[in-house]
Symmetry: C2
Subunit: 330 residues, 2 copies
């Protein structure tokens, strides 16, 4: 059996089992959430890692290096945001073919610095290695707050309950639409292409949600329905998403048919928006105080066997062609 | 100009300049040391990252996956040890060709877990990506102590002074000798090959050195003389190493000529021993209390123009053929 048969999530599951034997007391969240979390003294440390590989996560000929630098850091900021934490420092591993022009690397660094300034992240370590393929691997370490009761103010994937409502920040589908257009030759300054190349995780809103004790969140990286499935699997719950509630941008609506737009928004991935899952009253408080738009799109229920279901206005299930993204299977 | 012309260290220097503009107050050690360090609440966080790439850092046909797992984690433990800290948690990024057998990955995880148990490190996050070449990138996050005065008990590369003595743990050259033998077809259980495949950083001795206020340390990864050169460059100092004091194992002496053994010990690299640089009295205390052998091999002086010099018993400089390891230039 080779790794493409068990896929990315299968391999991560195996890793969790192999290394999960001696879980230290200080560890609060281990493998399987957006970021790990542990206590250190009177603080909470958060850590996450995510990589971009040439030809797998980005199109080398069509992605400006400065955008690659931004995105490599931003996708990690998104993971910290999904926990309700604050990113602080980053470690950067660059795997580069020896004939890579130095100006490309300078561009990458510039994009990373731009993103770091936006989100308050400083690069404090780096490793540069020779490889046949460009790969940028970033680890971000941050912190989260302890509540007045000494409990961690963290949002976790496994904390949803039946009856909790599901909401999402911003709009979905622009990134997948941008990727589609990028492949078709659209310029890097096309608005949808920008959404793909320069994701902007709603960090402040993630922090605000954690302060309001939103119990559960996940970022939209694999695609809304697949990311919700992670939550359903962990919580042994089902979820219903109302198709007509899924927020779509004006630019997405005008460039694609309604069906295409919905498929991109629910299955496309790489939006780096946040999905919040919370009791109705908590969600009301969040929506009233959030810096970005937070749209209720559905609710959790007790039907895990059906995974997340997408429903039209008349309550009929909509089946989408795409079902998310697994890097090893792809 | 391409990256092979400016090399690994040139690229890391550029990264440090690009991202060094807004150094937050909490940051104590940034790019350029074995690990980064910052204050978080009443604690000190340490973080480092290091990668192993197929064909660059290991010979795929000759390296058992279980040993690869051990080493990928151990080289990061070594960086934390060189700061005087304690490693706690690890994030693991695996880049794998889709046709990699799952049993190889299971072996890798097993080796990583073995190393984690030995050094008290728990893997808390992972990312698995598709790539044409195997690459294992690990980030380790740990902590270090604050002294009674509230100052960080850290050993830094830039803290050497003229007159400080230089000492090294264990013996040097076994790893480079093991790599040579591995290439020649020696089995994985050959003692020198073991030293190459299973480095054992002297973590407890690094902690002890930091408690005794040894100000300066570095781990031996690129090769003794090149690693000392990093210290010389940062401190604008010179260093003298006495060839006859460099500790060599019995197995190295019996397998190689005296000249070969010295070249392997001073230029070979990947020993993952620790070099300590401290005032004579501090070093005496460390040598008396260390759990491993700590051998004085030379001293720092005020002749930076000469970089580290290797001297024979009669005070004549010895020139070695090899001068360390730069992954991008290699």
């Amino acid at each position: 059996m080779n790794v493409s048969e068990i896929g990315e999530f299968g391999l991560i599951e195996r890793l969790a089992k192999a290394v999960g034997a001696d879980r230290p007391e200080s560890l609060i969240v281990g493998i399987g959430d957006d970021a790990a979390a542990w206590r250190l003294g009177d603080s909470l440390v958060l850590a996450t890692t995510d990589s971009l590989v040439e030809g797998v996560h980005f199109l080398p000929e069509r992605t400006p290096w400065v955008d690659l630098g931004w995105k490599a850091l931003a996708v990690n900021v998104s993971d910290i945001a999904a926990m309700g934490g604050d990113p602080l420092f980053a470690l950067v591993t660059l795997a580069l073919p020896p004939d890579t022009p130095v100006e490309n690397v300078d561009g990458l660094y510039a994009g990373m610095q731009e993103c770091g300034r936006e989100y308050g992240v400083t690069v404090v370590g780096g490793d540069v290695v020779r490889a046949s393929q460009v790969m940028i691997s970033v680890a971000v370490i941050g912190h989260a707050d302890l509540g007045a009761d000494g409990q961690a103010q963290l949002m976790r994937r496994d904390a949803a309950k039946a009856g909790f409502v599901i909401a999402v920040t911003g709009s979905l589908g622009d990134s997948a639409a941008g990727l589609k257009r990028l492949k078709e030759g659209a310029p890097a300054d096309d608005a949808l292409v920008r959404a793909h190349l320069r994701p902007q995780p709603p960090l402040a809103t993630g922090r605000q949600a954690a302060r309001l004790e939103v119990p559960c969140a996940i970022d939209v990286s694999d695609g809304l329905l697949q990311d919700l499935r992670h939550v359903c699997d962990l919580c042994e719950l089902g979820a219903v998403v109302r198709a007509d509630a899924v927020p779509l941008s004006q630019q997405l609506r005008s460039a694609f048919t309604a069906e295409e737009a919905l498929a991109l928004a629910c299955g496309g991935g790489e939006d780096y928006q946040l999905v919040f899952i919370a009791p109705q009253e908590t969600m009301r408080l969040l929506r009233a105080s959030a810096q970005v738009r937070v749209t209720v799109i559905g609710e959790m229920d007790e039907h895990p066997e059906q995974r997340p279901r997408l429903m039209d206005a008349s309550g009929v299930e909509i089946k989408l062609p795409e079902a998310g993204w697994d890097h090893l299977r792809a």
